[in-house]
Amino acid sequence: MDNRSRIQQVSHRFKLLFIALLFIIPLTEFVHWLFYNQLPTNHFFLLHDQIKDELSLSMRLQLFLASLIPIGILTYGVFNLIKLFGLYEKKIVFNTENVCLYRRLGFVAISWVISKFIYLPICSIIISFHQSDNKLSISLGLQSVDLFVLVTGAIVILVSWIMDEARRLEEEQAYTV
């Protein structure tokens, strides 16, 4: 099997995986908020410790809507990955569209970190408005993983510039007789 065929085959699998994730990610988030009160105490929500009372349906709905900010950006990133692996599947490796998708993915990664930074205070406001003690608290936070994603996003943007050079070379190669 030559390299291009291998790229084609693996890309097809990745495309299927990301198509599945496109539905799984928002669905998981929805299920998470729907069954929040039934979940074990130490789950993924960072502000879990701030929640003293059981969350009402309207509050869970508000938190779900707030979570759509980072989830929306993440889903958009997954959508772009599907498009990218779709191009690889068609053996289109160095193309203007590939370069655009890489650049977009880099910006999506950076936007995702920013959205998470916004998401946390929004959630803390929603929670504090509904808590019985009536205290308003705003939480801000960045995790090490966010910094990692931020750096990765910047690297992906740099890679998109390198890909653009590769595209130029391939275009030149295609028009060399």
Binding site: E171, E172, Y175, T176, V177
Partner: protein
């Protein structure tokens, strides 16, 4: 581009069809068309050599420089 490819002129002079030349020099008709229509960004010496041999001409007969 300031370089003009006069391949079609030479083909007419030699009364040879593009597909025949493509077959003789071992390149695809599509690539020869790129060359004929002036879309080519570069030409290999091996290709130029083969064209000159088949059309019995000089590189200067195929390529011409004109100020834009």
């Amino acid at each position: 581009m300031a370089i003009i490819v006069n391949l079609d002129v030479m083909l007419a002079k030699r009364k040879m069809k593009s597909n025949e030349l493509a077959k003789r020099i071992g390149i695809t008709e599509q690539n020869l068309s790129i060359l004929k229509t002036g879309k080519a960004k570069a030409i290999r010496f091996t290709t130029l050599d083969a064209i000159c041999e088949q059309l019995d001409c000089q590189p200067g007969d195929l390529l011409e420089y004109s100020k834009e």
